[in-house]
């Protein structure tokens, strides 16, 4: 049996992969990895690896269930998520279609990007995003958000800012009310798979709001996506959210660097 975070973290203030509470895993990313698509990206957050490609904006398909009326005000975002059978510890045979987990990720991504992108520029068209999870080692949704952002930037689809996602957890089960005087639990940034399985965590994605007016702050951020599947006492949410938002900021800078670096090349 491997060690667990909730036992050893209070003793050493180190997580099971050697990180401190506020450290991200190593992020590596490239864009334009697939010349056949309009835009594409590869992103690895630790051992979580995602490939993403974007097609479109293209003309909406005929014979659509909505009879072509969909997208009359702007482009429709379609997301398709495929988690490879070899992505997790146990090899799963998937009968082609999507399972619950990938379905949920897909619908979360769809609603996040549908509202995030400037879709009104492309009425009657479809932007389709394909996400392939090659390896899942925690924070899959956050990594997928980041990969999609990169691929959409690569495809040249206008958006107000980079949408960056990150996870934040607590270093214990956090099921009883937080004691402000005797704070024993630390928030953890960017949880890995073993931490996801043991601890409560949330996924948050933020976008930077462009500076408005002379007093506009460049660092203003807007939370555009927030999900949580685990149970945690509500008194801890604020801490977790603050840490998650801070992580998004760090990730945005990394994504920014990737984009700028690749255009220079």
């Amino acid at each position: 049996m491997p060690l667990d975070t909730s036992t050893t973290y209070p003793l050493t203030k180190l997580r099971l992969d050697g990180r401190r509470w506020n450290e991200l895993r190593l992020i590596q990313a490239q864009i334009s990895t697939n010349p056949a698509s309009s835009g594409s990206s590869y992103l690895a957050m630790g051992n979580t690896t995602i490939l993403c490609s974007v097609h479109g904006p293209a003309e909406g398909r005929r014979g659509d269930a909505t009879g072509g009326s969909a997208g009359s005000s702007g482009a429709v975002v379609e997301v398709d998520v495929n988690i490879a059978g070899f992505a997790s510890v146990d090899r799963k045979r998937r009968a082609g279609g999507s399972d619950r987990q990938s379905g949920r990720i897909a619908s979360t991504l769809r609603s996040a990007f549908q509202s995030h992108l400037h879709t009104y520029l492309y009425p009657h068209s479809t932007i389709s995003i394909h996400v392939s999870v090659l390896s899942a080692d925690g924070s899959v949704l956050a990594a997928a958000v980041n990969a999609c952002t990169l691929a959409l930037v690569d495809a040249g689809i206008p958006m107000p800012g980079l949408l960056a996602g990150c996870t934040a957890g607590m270093s214990g089960s956090a099921s009883t009310p937080r004691d402000p005087m005797n704070d024993e639990l630390d928030p953890l940034l960017d949880v890995s798979l073993p931490e996801e399985q043991e601890l409560p965590f949330l996924t948050v994605a933020t976008t930077s709001v462009p500076a408005v007016g002379p007093d506009g702050d460049d660092d203003d951020m807007k939370v555009s996506m927030l999900t949580m599947d685990s149970k945690v006492h509500h008194t801890y949410i604020e801490t977790m959210l603050a840490v998650g938002v801070d992580g998004c900021k760090q990730i945005r800078e990394i994504l920014d660097g990737v984009i700028k670096g690749s255009s220079r090349r």
Binding site: M1, P2, L14, D17, R20, L26
Partner: protein
Amino acid sequence: MKSLRRDFSGDPSTANVTSKVFVRSTKSGKVQKIVRELYLRQDIPCSSRLCTICPSVAPTDANGNIVPFVLSEQPAGTTAFPRGHYIVPDTNALLNGMDLFEHTGAFYDVIILQTVLEELKNQSLPLYNRLLALIKTDEKRFYLFFNEFRLETHVRREQDESINDRNDRAVRTVAKWYMDHLRAVTKSKKEKSVPAIVVITDDKENLRKAKEENVTALSLENYVSGLEEADRLLDMINESREAREAKEARGELFYPEYYSMSKMMTGLRAGNLHQGVFNVSPYNYLEGQIKVAAFDKPLIIMGRHNSNRAISGDVVVVEVLPKDQWKSPSTKIVDEEVVTKNDNPEGEDNEAVVTERERRALQEEVRQAHGKNLEGRPQPTAKVVGVVKRNWRQYVGTVDSTSTGSQTSGRRQQNVFVLPMEKKVPKIRVRTRQAADLLGQRILVTIDAWNRDSRYPTGHFIRSLGELETKSAETEALLLEWDVQYKPFPKSVLDCLPSEGHDWRVPQSTDDIGWRGRRDLRDLLICSIDPPGCQDIDDALHARKLPNGNFEVGVHIADVSHFVKPNNAMDLEASVRGTTVYLVDKRIDMLPHLLGTDLCSLKPYVERYAFSVLWEMTPDAEVVSADFTKSVIRSREAFSYEQAQLRIDDPSKTDELTQSMRTLLHLSKILRQKRMDAGALNLASPEVRIEADNDEVGDPLADVKTKAMLATNSLVEEFMLHANITVAAKIYSTFPQTAMLRRHATPPPQNFEELINQLTKKRDMRLEVSSSGALADSLDRCTDAENPFFNTLVRILATRCMTSAEYFGAGAHAESEFRHYGLASPIYTHFTSPIRRYADLLVHRQLAAAINYEGEDGRATIEGSITRNRLEDICRNINYRHRNAQHAGRASIEYYVGQALKARSEKLAADGVDSGIEEDAYVMRVFENGVVVFVPRFGIEGVVRLEDFVLPSDEALRAVEERRELVTRRESDFDPEEYTLKVSDKGQQERSVCVELFQRVKVNVSSVKEETGRGVGKRRVRILILNKKK
């Protein structure tokens, strides 16, 4: 197309990222390959107070705090390491010597590696938990070093290197790094002050390699030999695995092999095998019982071979034996020390699992069982095929003097038998170098293993408690046996006490924050009624007449939750202790003295915080309304039960306080009647009270008194019950899942079968067990005009047929299962003794939250909430502690009675007579070779063997040794249907003594010193059945 492979070469930030790859297999047999990332870093501190670099880089938590450095700057030295040393143990060192690491005399400043902790967790979860506890305490200075994450100490497994070798290499690497690191940081200081790093490992290969690499490494044994008290410490090492393996190779196997885990699991699922807790009969060490779901009656496990190395308390898997081997429970008393007196602990070669003597003891059993088949009494028997969980603990015992060799003078190691005090546990073979010193001492040992090749379990010595029969040793033995936490409170707990100490007062001004949410009840005439000499006064009462003719009755309980905040050190300590344990001459407190006997205690004449339950009652004791509030009270008087009774009975007293006590008494009688009408049971337990007033002159036995029940006892009891029930309903309505409640399950009717049978046969009395009410009525009818104690005896026996009451979280059972059988209440909890029970403290918090009390800091509502898991853990612990506390209390009384008898006989011995004392006793159980009698005067029950029957031919009472010889001549005629036993000398049936169940007999009680066997030196209460009949 670009390659998407992760390329670490170009990026400098990736230099520290590596991965750990390992393969594991799951329970279902799947093999998984796990790949984990590792971020290597250089800011993991060495945690030595000598270090000048690490404090500046150590990782911080979210609040910016650094974990304090633990390793002392001046670690203890030994002869080999005069400059002091830090210890780096290997996994096998911890596996073999955890007791040593916990020892308070040595093993300070220990560096526990992540590698070692992880390996230990894989090998033994209990040891892992003990190690974690050690790391968490400050005193021992254990430091958990995450070596795998430190760049310098990270070790990659090489091609063809076994995991074991890699881990050993990791340990050596750390030792080397620590040496260099400490040398570097202390360069400015004198070279002398650098402590040595000592690796402790029992792996020969590792020792060799360490030598090559210039790392100081010692085997556990060699290291300990260099310490002071080496002899004592050496005995604490587990029998080394190598020695065990060597023996196994010789292939002398006495016991059948256990089934494999998967075979057991399949069998359990298919219903062929059963799982349960193995329980050894208190009268026959060769017979065990196991309660499983598939059978109504417990399965019987007969003999050493079938019990197959299981020890009482283990969770085992059993297989039911074919029907022709079924039998009824034993009717014979079999004591281990008598049967196996002459076993030799050294000689293994000529051992058989079942000795001839044991076989004889058992054969009689089987023959008898077949004779009784007519009645359909035999019960299914089973054999143990595997152990799911060992429940071994540390055992208190004595070295069997007959097992020590003749040459005890030298320091040579030898095997001795240790006889545990607990009769259900077999003797333990222990290797020791100090056999001579240990004779006549109470010692603590633990079991390490019980292998197939050994008749008895092997264990090792932990420490000596002191001379036999000294008060301190016997008291400590008793506390250890019942797992009572008796160590003084650590500093961290005492730090949680109010800083004012004994000078703490209820704030004068009612505007003070302490008064927030509290009602001022200082003008009420409140008094407390407790046993004499009570210091921790939990409860106080008052009653007053209201203008509308009804009464206001209040129960005021010490507000402990005001002082004990959840999850601080004091709260955690209290939750572990669970309850205060009362011994005859000692009280082991749950809460520190300051709180228990002063600040919380509702002492008279001073203001105290309280939690009050107030009812409005009609004169017929119907409750009109109930109200709960935190309050401030001032008790007017603290009465003892007798004082209160006298005051109530004294017609000249007409003051208001006495009047209110009379009102309380009146109402309590009505409440009691109502409860009895609802079917509450009036149970009895054999309790005596000891008044230790230490008068040297009088008869020592005069202190032993049976508990008298005064009306004032039941006054207090009724209102406490009523308060508990009212509170239970309130917290259940607020916390339907997590309310802390107490229930007493309805006992299954088959539990009473034997008692019903016995009563019908012997007295022609019927016991109705369909409901508690019916049982209460039928118990009332079980009387014997000539024998007033008979009714109590039946009640005692009936109580033993029942299940015990237990704490539980409301979510754990359906509402219909909440019933308290004994009290005939649909819901119940404990609220009234928070000073001495942890459950009550939790209930206080829950009630405070339920009435929206905010407290000084507005957090009282938060304090009331608890998760179900935590609640279940707490319930499990306090149920266990509660049971143990009762046993410990009883054992203490038993010990005291023995001592009193001894003191008496010593006094009388001056006159040359050692005659014991004559008392009435009642026969509780009849066996083939003895009976169990109960002596109400002393509240003790004891076994009377054949030789202890005084036949008409015996004139004088003889000495123990003489009596022992009698046994060969004695003959008995046992009638299991009629529960009679006729004892006579062989061939002289005409002069016999016949006893039957429930009979009143005259016995002679004396205290004798055991010369051999389990109780060596311990006083045993000897009971002789006298010939004189009334």
